[in-house]
Amino acid sequence: MDTTLQHRPLSTQDLEAILDVTKALAAPFDLMTMLGEVVAAAKQVLRAERGSVWLYDEAKGELVLEVATGIKPVRVPWQSGLVGACARSRRIINVPDCYADPRFDPHVDKASGYRTRCMLTLPLVDHKDVLVGVMQVLNKVDGVFDADDEALAGALAAQCAVALQRVRMTAALIEGEKMRQALEMAREVQMSTLPATMPAVAGYDVCATFRPADLTGGDTFDVSLLEQGLLLVLGDATGHGIAPALSVTQMHAMLRIAFQMGASLETAFVHVNNRLARTLAEDRFITAFIGLLDPTTHEVRFHSAGQGPILRYRAARRDVERYKPTSFPLGAMQLASLRPEIRVAMEPGDILALVSDGIFEQENRSGEAFGEARVTALIDEHRDQPAAALLARLVDAVQAFADGAPQADDMTAVLLKRLPRPVAEGAFERRFDVIPALVAFTADAFARLGIDTRLLARVDLAVEELFTNMVKYGRGSGAPVDIRLYPVDGGVELAMIDHGVEPYDVTRTPDVDIAMPIEERDAGGLGLHLIRRMADSFEYEYDPQHRDSRIKVRFSVAGLAGRRP
């Protein structure tokens, strides 16, 4: 006889009993205690000899009978037997004579030696209509279960279901909290290895940022001044959860130790890879950029293990050069041989940008990725800003782009900027009456850039002679003449750019014959002759595309003493 759960009016006595049970069920928080309480309540209310609760394991599609703490639970497919039939139909099944019902499984009786006469099987469904399990009560003390018992059992089952579900959810929450705490700890370890401050490197501005995603991500970076140069590392471990956080931390430490022990770039790279290949799980690897800057030669040498693209902003051309990886990700397999390292010559104003996937791949709410083009456009736009400000702009731009879409991965970036050369720049109309302005410009530039004033007269002479030549011979052009002064080691460099003119190499004009008698001499060609005598170097370059004549002249304090007649 199967009966739908219905709540018939209960007697006051029954109600009292159920209320007592409800009170009892409010207390326990662990599953075994709760199961004990539920069974005890059922036995008491229904005057049954025994009771048991099968919990529904939705993930496995099984019903599970927890026998006692420490004993392996009994599991049955959720379709099988009376419990299965009840779970599927969600109806009370009242069997007055078990051994007459084909759905009854006598194995449990055989194992326990107990004989089941009659049985009430009832579904435990919580108030959200979720199947929690199935309860069975066996052998009514004085006969078989009747319709009143069914009604009472229905009311009891609802209470038990809610109580059990509460305990299971609490347990799941506690488990989740434990996971979260473990992950948080791994992340803390991961972040604790990141350098707190950036080393000071003359002529460079270096800055890094790390923005962890909430749960997953395995980024790391390192910027550290070592004997081999300035170490630059950006790493990104694959996978989710605790493992990537721990494996990048391991790589970070290995690299530090290898370099501190004096390893070369190649040795460190190969050894760390091979060590990680042995220790990382089969399906794990780390993409990484590992580079060294020599701040005196301005050369960055690097290997990239699957980390890319590596971007180098070229200030002079205002474009970006991309470098591909030199090797597969670290730890993927043992390295038999290694391709040559990549060497990058950092020019003044150049920016090396190491950027993790988390930035390139950050999506907005329509699923579009931030992408490389936005990163390079941003670097170009803010090229004159300090590295820290540029990074802040980048992070702001990614966040604005995401527009509330979740951050799926760690965002990490390291920027290495070679400081631009200090320069004084001016543009001068091609007229003779601007000469006083030229004089004021050079005097101000010398003062501002701290150039040795003993060189001022020579620079003034070069500026005046070259400028007057440009005015005399470049009449076709209306563009002003650009003049730049740069301090250089022990002296100064002058650059003058004459726009929109025909080529004329001023460095190749013939010398003046200074031995000629006075009657034959004039002042022609004297200016360039004097520059050649006084300058350390004098160079001419023509840019046919812009029709620019570019002249570079260097003067040094050491050159003041020399005589070049």
Binding site: F432, D433, I435, P436, V439, R454, A457, R458, D460, L461, E464, E465, T468, V512, I514, A515, M516, I518, E519, R521, D522, A523, L526, G527, H529, L530, R533, M534, R563, R564, P565
Partner: protein, 97 residues
Amino acid sequence: MLSIDEGAGGIVVVSGRLDAAEAAAAQAFLDRRDGTVTLDCAGLDYISSAGLGVLLKTQKRLLAANGKLRLAGLKPHIIDIFTYSGFDQLFEIEPAR
């Protein structure tokens, strides 16, 4: 800026910058002088080829009339310019004392 003036004893005193911007004014002043002209250059800070051109033209004119231009009190870096240009061979030069 350049200043060029008559000093004590008929000496011409020049100071400041003898550059392309000032060459015409200096030329006009020197064109009015004859005979042997002494130029006191103690205050001369700067000279370019335009300034050298003024001195050369003046020297040629004076020599042709049996006069000459004498330069006195030149600063070392001005002497350098005269040396590099060979103008030290064209003038009687008295360095700064």
